[in-house]
């Protein structure tokens, strides 16, 4: 038994590079490092928004309509300093952005996690079992990927209705196919490798081989796809909210904050739309910078 688990450990470790090597390669790009730092800060803000925001923008006792549309740098009637001004409802913009980041990231991360789980499982099984299951699953993936995500999301929301849960569901449905396709492609290649033969010769259970051996080796491309997809998910949610089919406006995401501020643009109250726009921009750009470098590092064809 101990011998076999040793072999197993060897089997899973063998095809992976060391983490230190990876970190070194990654750190080569200054822009990617910058992206990483900024993203860490953003995630921190999103996680701790309730503790670091000046006010709770969703608590009606803390928001007053009498303080709405204050320009940046003014102090409201209750002595609260609004560094980035207030929106049409009197919410502190800075707090609204912090909470909005939280909503946007929560929507994108939760939908991403579920989509990865579903997509990776189906992709793995397709690659491993082959046959009719593979044919059917991949046909489904092909069909879905041949339709634009925004169209599918629009339709889903047309008959799901609106709300946080529904938009997450819609994002899961539009994303899973990417992961299924990526996982299957990688898994097919991995299946040919020696460690898989080793695993088979050890007569390990199928599920164990699938999830303990095959899956870990497919992770790196999945991470790249997931990084880039999460930025897409944030942008897609923002766009759907702009079209009036996304989140309800009571607990606005970044996209919805921008959409709400859209009406204020010509009236000179630029801050209501501009600052959330900048926050969205920074978030998406830093994720993409990160994803770019991950791809460079993990793509063997570009390695020197």
């Amino acid at each position: 038994m101990s011998a076999s688990s040793e072999t197993e450990a060897f089997v899973s470790a063998a095809p992976q590079g060391t983490f230190a090597r990876f970190a070194e390669d990654f750190a080569e790009s200054k822009s990617a490092m910058l992206g990483l730092v900024v993203l860490t800060i953003i995630v921190f803000i999103a996680l701790f928004a309730p503790w670091i925001s000046p006010t709770n923008p969703n608590d009606l006792l803390q928001v007053s309509i009498l303080d709405n549309r204050l320009p940046p740098g003014t102090t409201g009637s209750r002595g609260i300093y609004h560094a980035l001004g207030t929106d049409g409802q009197g919410r502190d913009m800075l707090s609204a952005i912090f909470y909005g980041l939280r909503t946007s990231l929560a929507v994108s991360v939760s939908s991403g996690l579920v989509a990865v789980s579903i997509g990776a499982t189906i992709g793995l099984m397709a690659a491993y079992f082959g046959g009719r299951f593979e044919a059917l699953a991949m046909r489904l993936v092909d069909i879905q990927l041949s339709f634009p995500t925004i169209l599918i999301a629009l339709l889903l929301l047309a008959f799901l209705g609106q709300g946080v849960g529904k938009i997450i569901l819609a994002l899961i449905i539009v994303q899973w196919a990417y992961y299924a396709r990526t996982t299957r492609a990688v898994a097919l290649a991995e299946k040919q490798k020696e460690y898989m033969d080793a695993a088979h010769s050890l007569q390990l259970g199928r599920l164990r081989i699938l999830f303990r051996h095959l899956l870990p080796n497919c992770l790196s491309p999945l991470i790249v796809v997931a990084t880039i997809q999460s930025a897409h998910a944030i942008a897609l949610e923002a766009t759907l909210s702009f079209l009036g089919l996304g989140l309800p406006p009571t607990e606005p995401s970044l996209g919805l904050l921008i959409a709400n501020g859209f009406t204020f643009i010509l009236s000179g109250r630029y801050w209501i739309s501009f600052f959330p726009g900048i926050a969205l921009l920074i978030t998406i750009v830093s994720i993409n910078l990160l994803g770019d470098q991950l791809r460079n590092v993990l793509n063997p064809r570009l390695q020197k």
Binding site: R139, I143, T149, L155, A158, T239
Partner: protein, 325 residues
């Protein structure tokens, strides 16, 4: 080859049927369009009349069977809200959307490929880096936000271009197009650029990484070693190899561009079919939603088919039969 096409078409019919089924029942569950459509003086009797006039008083299954029966006779239904045949409504607006989408595609390829080549050849130069950073911006910023900014800057502040609408149209082979007149072009400029940005970034990035990969390959090294001029190496060897993925992706992205036109059409009041579908979803105009889907699904099936065939012609290694199984 023909077996492959036939198989794909049958698959498409199946997909269309499933989509209509889901949407037909889904939309009906959300709400009753009459509740949104009636005016304030429409009392209970008047509402019942309207429900009957739209056929909504029958059981849902009957409604669907009736829809299928009409479809078999080539009738796609009549819009609840607009009172016109849905197929006419959609086909009337389709040229505007296609014009916008093709213009955006042209812009993104015409600008994206040269920029991407430059960035790929000069990856360390400031200009090359600037292009890549800009492409990340174009890739990341939501279309609706850029669109608004374009209107604020180029229409309101500078007053160079009209902010909304489509210019006068001229018939080209029976299809109304607006890019043949100067006024039409000025109207087309902002929305087309807005819609092109995302794809342009994509093309830049694809070209750039393609160029970088090709430059590392042996045959380019060999071509250089043979003493071919740098210019010839780039134009003939590099460009040719980079074009295949760019053409494929551009083809596949056409669908995305047509779908994303929804956003651009909303901001620029462009009279295309994307605006129609958004409005229809909001008032639960089921016949329009279903007809739009059937048409767009058919369109995508055709686009994908063409891309697949073109791909197999460009790259003989891909066998159609294989991807069909």
């Amino acid at each position: 080859m023909s077996a492959f096409v036939l198989r794909r078409l049958m698959q498409a019919v199946l997909v269309i049927l499933v989509v209509t089924l889901i949407v037909f029942f889904g939309v009906s569950v959300i709400g009753n369009p009459i509740d949104i459509l009636v005016g304030p003086d429409c009392n209970q009797a008047c509402q019942a009349e309207a429900i009957a006039a739209l056929g909504l008083d029958r059981p849902l299954v009957d409604q669907y069977l009736l829809f299928l029966a009409n479809l078999a006779q080539g009738k796609f239904g009549t819009s609840y809200v607009l009172g016109s045949p849905t197929i006419d409504l959609i086909l009337q607006r389709m040229p505007a959307t296609l014009e916008l989408a093709f213009s955006a595609m042209t812009i993104s390829v015409a600008i994206g490929i040269p920029l991407g080549m430059w960035a790929g050849l000069q990856p360390e130069a400031p200009s090359g880096k600037a292009i890549m950073v800009a492409s990340i911006l174009g890739f990341s910023l939501p279309t609706f936000w850029i669109g608004t900014m374009l209107i604020v800057v180029f229409s309101v502040e500078l007053g160079w271009l009209p902010p909304t609408g489509r210019g006068p149209t001229v018939d080209l082979f029976g299809i109304p197009v607006s890019f043949l007149t100067l006024e039409g072009l000025t109207h087309l400029a902002l929305p087309a650029i807005n819609l092109a940005l995302f794809n342009m970034s994509l093309v830049i990035r694809l070209t750039q990484s393609g160029v970088r990969e090709v430059l590392l390959t042996d045959y380019v090294k060999f071509a250089r070693a043979k003493g071919l001029t740098n210019r010839r190496v780039i134009l003939v060897h590099v460009l040719k190899n980079v074009l295949i993925p760019v053409v494929t992706v551009t083809g596949l992205e056409l669908g995305n561009v047509i779908a994303f036109a929804v956003v651009t059409e909303t901001i620029f009041a462009w009279p295309g079919m994307g605006k129609l579908i958004i409005d229809s979803i909001q008032v639960l105009d089921r016949p329009v939603i279903v007809a739009y889907l059937m048409i767009i699904v058919t369109m995508f099936v055709i686009i994908n088919l063409i891309v697949d065939i073109a791909y197999s012609v460009l790259d003989p290694r891909i066998r159609l039969q294989r991807s069909a199984t």
